[in-house]
C-alpha cells in the first residue's frame, strides 16, 4: 500500500472559504480605483476631456507593461506619470494649437450660459495653460497634483519629496504661476 508508508505530512489548516472566494484581477481593481484620479490630473493640466482620457489610457498602458499592480508604489507611479505626460502634451506647440481650435467652446456646457462668457473662460484657460507650460517641471507638477485633489501625502509620494515640504513648494509654485500669467498678459 502506497499510503501505509511511514510519512508525516506537514499540516497547514486554512478555511476553504478563503480559497473559493471570487478574487478580482489586481490590475482591474487598481484601474477602477485610480482611473478617476489619473484622468482628473490630466484634465486639470489639459482642460480637455478627450485629451485627458487619451493621456490616462497611455499612462495605464505603460503601467501595465512595466509595473506590478501590487507594487506599493503603484498609485504614486500613476499620479506622477499622469502629470508628467499631460505637461509634455501642453509643451508640444502643434498639439496645443490643435487642441485650442477644437476646444474653444466646451460642447457639454449648458446652452443657457452666455456665449461671450464661454469664449472668455476658454481664453483664460488657454492663457493659464500657456503659462503653465513655461514653468519648471516640478513646479507645474506640484500645482497640478494638488489642484487635482491629491492630498499632501499623495503629492509627496508621487514627486518623491517629504510631505513636510509640499506646503512650501506649493506656495512657491502658486507664486510662480501668478507671475508667469501676469508676464504673459502684460506682453
Amino acid at each position: 500500500m502506497l499510503y501505509a508508508r511511514a510519512w508525516r505530512p506537514m499540516v497547514v489548516r486554512v478555511p476553504l472559504s478563503a480559497a473559493s472566494r471570487p478574487v478580482p484581477d489586481p490590475f482591474e481593481r487598481l484601474f477602477l480605483q485610480e482611473y478617476p484620479k489619473v484622468v482628473a490630473i490630466a484634465y486639470r493640466v489639459l482642460a480637455d476631456r478627450s485629451a485627458a482620457e487619451d493621456v490616462a489610457q497611455e499612462v495605464f498602458m505603460k503601467f501595465h507593461r512595466s509595473v506590478s499592480p501590487d507594487s506599493e508604489q503603484a498609485s504614486g507611479w500613476l499620479h506622477a506619470a499622469a502629470v508628467h505626460s499631460a505637461l509634455n502634451v501642453i509643451r508640444g506647440e502643434r498639439r496645443r494649437a490643435r487642441r485650442e481650435s477644437t476646444h474653444a467652446l466646451d460642447p457639454s456646457t449648458p446652452a443657457a450660459v452666455d456665449p461671450q462668457h464661454l469664449v472668455e473662460a476658454a481664453e483664460q484657460r488657454r492663457e493659464v495653460r500657456r503659462a503653465l507650460s513655461h514653468l519648471p517641471e516640478r513646479t507645474a507638477a506640484i500645482l497640478m497634483l494638488r489642484y487635482s485633489g491629491l492630498s499632501y501625502a499623495e503629492v509627496a509620494t508621487a514627486l518623491r519629496i517629504r510631505v513636510g515640504n509640499v506646503g512650501t513648494l506649493l506656495r512657491r509654485a502658486e507664486g510662480a504661476l501668478r507671475k508667469e500669467v501676469n508676464r504673459a498678459t502684460s506682453d
Binding site: 502506497l2 499510503y3 508508508r5 510519512w7 505530512p9 506537514m10 499540516v11 497547514v12 489548516r13 486554512v14 478555511p15 476553504l16 472559504s17 480559497a19 473559493s20 471570487p22 478574487v23 484581477d25 489586481p26 482591474e28 484601474f31 477602477l32 482611473y35 478617476p36 484622468v39 482628473a40 484634465y43 486639470r44 482642460a47 476631456r49 485627458a52 482620457e53 490616462a56 489610457q57 495605464f60 498602458m61 501595465h64 506590478s68 466646451d106 457639454s108 456646457t109 484657460r125 493659464v128 500645482l143 497640478m144 494638488r146 489642484y147 499632501y152 513636510g164 515640504n165 509640499v166 506646503g167 512650501t168 513648494l169 506649493l170 506656495r171 502658486e174 504661476l177 501668478r178 500669467v181
Partner: protein
Amino acid sequence: MRHLTDGTLRRIVDEPLAVTAADQAHLHGCLECKSRSNGIAGDARATATMLMVPAFDPDPARALIAVQARITRDEAARPRRWYERWIDRSTPRLRPLATPAIAVVLAAVLISGVAVSGAAGQLVRIFQPSTIVAVPVSPSSVPGRNVLLDYGQVKWLPEAPNAQPVTDPARAHELSGLPLLVPASLPSGVSGPVSYGVVSHATGSLTFDAARLKASAAKAGVRVSPMPAAIDGSTLIVSGGPALIEAWGLSGAEGQTQVPTLVIAQTRVPTVDSSGATNAQLEDYLLSQPGVPPDFAAQVKAIKDPSTTLPIPIPKGFATTETKTVNGIQYLVIKTALGAGVVWVKNGVIYAVGGQLTPDQVLAIATSLH
C-alpha cells in the same frame, strides 16, 4: 517667538487637521501669522480660480474596457520573448508533455502515497519536494494531440503567475526575493551581459467538478471514466514560485532569434494542499486519464517517497540522465544533443543550470555557484 513657516500656513489652508496642535494654537494667538495665513489663503483661492476647469465625470468602466482591448491587441502583436522562442526551438518533442492531462497527473503524483485528512473545510499540506528523480517517458506514448479537458474550476489566489524581463540585477533580486547566483568562472563561449527574468509567486486551486468534465469530454469526443464521488467537489491548492532566471548570450536585437549559452534558474519548491479526496482515489483516477503515457504512470506509482520527490519527465531518445553526488547534494545531470543541464534541490529551493555546454561544464558551474 518663532512664527509659522509659509509651508505650514499653506498646509493649514488645505489640511488644517494635519498640522500639530502647537502650530494651530500659535496661529490662533498670533496676529502676524493670522495675517500671513489670510494672504496665503487668498492666493490659494486665486490659483484655484485660475486653474478651474468645467466639471467632468469620467467613466472608469468604459475606459477599462478600452485599455483591456489595447492590452489584448498589444500582446497578440508582441514579439515572442527569448525564453518562449528558446523552448520552441530546442524542445519541439517535449511540447506534447504540456497537455493538461499530464499536468493533472503530476498533481496526482504529488499526492500519491500520502495520508490526507478527510475533514471537510480544512487543507492538508501533502507535497513539498526535497529530492528529484528522472522519469523516462517514451515520446511515442505521448499523444500528439492536446486533450483539453475541463476537470473543474481553476482559481488563482489572487492572480495567475506573471513573468517579466528585468534588466537591473538588483531589481530582479528585489522582485523575486531570491539571491542572484554567480558562477566562480564561466566556460569559454559564455560571456556578455546577463538578462534576467522573474516569475511571480502564485497559488492556484482546482475544485474537481464531475459535470464539467463530462461536458468537456463529450465536446472533445473523448471517453473518460466517471469521476468518483469522493473526488467530485474536493479541492487541490498548488503553490509555486517565485522564480529567478539569469541568462547569458541574449544581447542581440529584439525580434532576432536567440538561444542563450547559459541559463541559471531557481524557484522555491512547489507545495500542494488537498481537501476531501483520499490519495488512493486521486492517484488511481488521475493516472487513468486520457493522455497519460502508461510507462509514465507505472514509474510514477513506483516512486518510493512521492510526497517529497519531484519527478521530471525525460523523453527517451531525446535525453539521458545521470545522478552525481557532490558535497552530499544529489545533482540530476541531463544530457541532450543541444547541450546539458543539471537540476537539484537544496534548502527548499529547486535550482537548474543549463546551456550549450557539456555535462561536466554545467556540473562545474552548478557546484561553484555562490
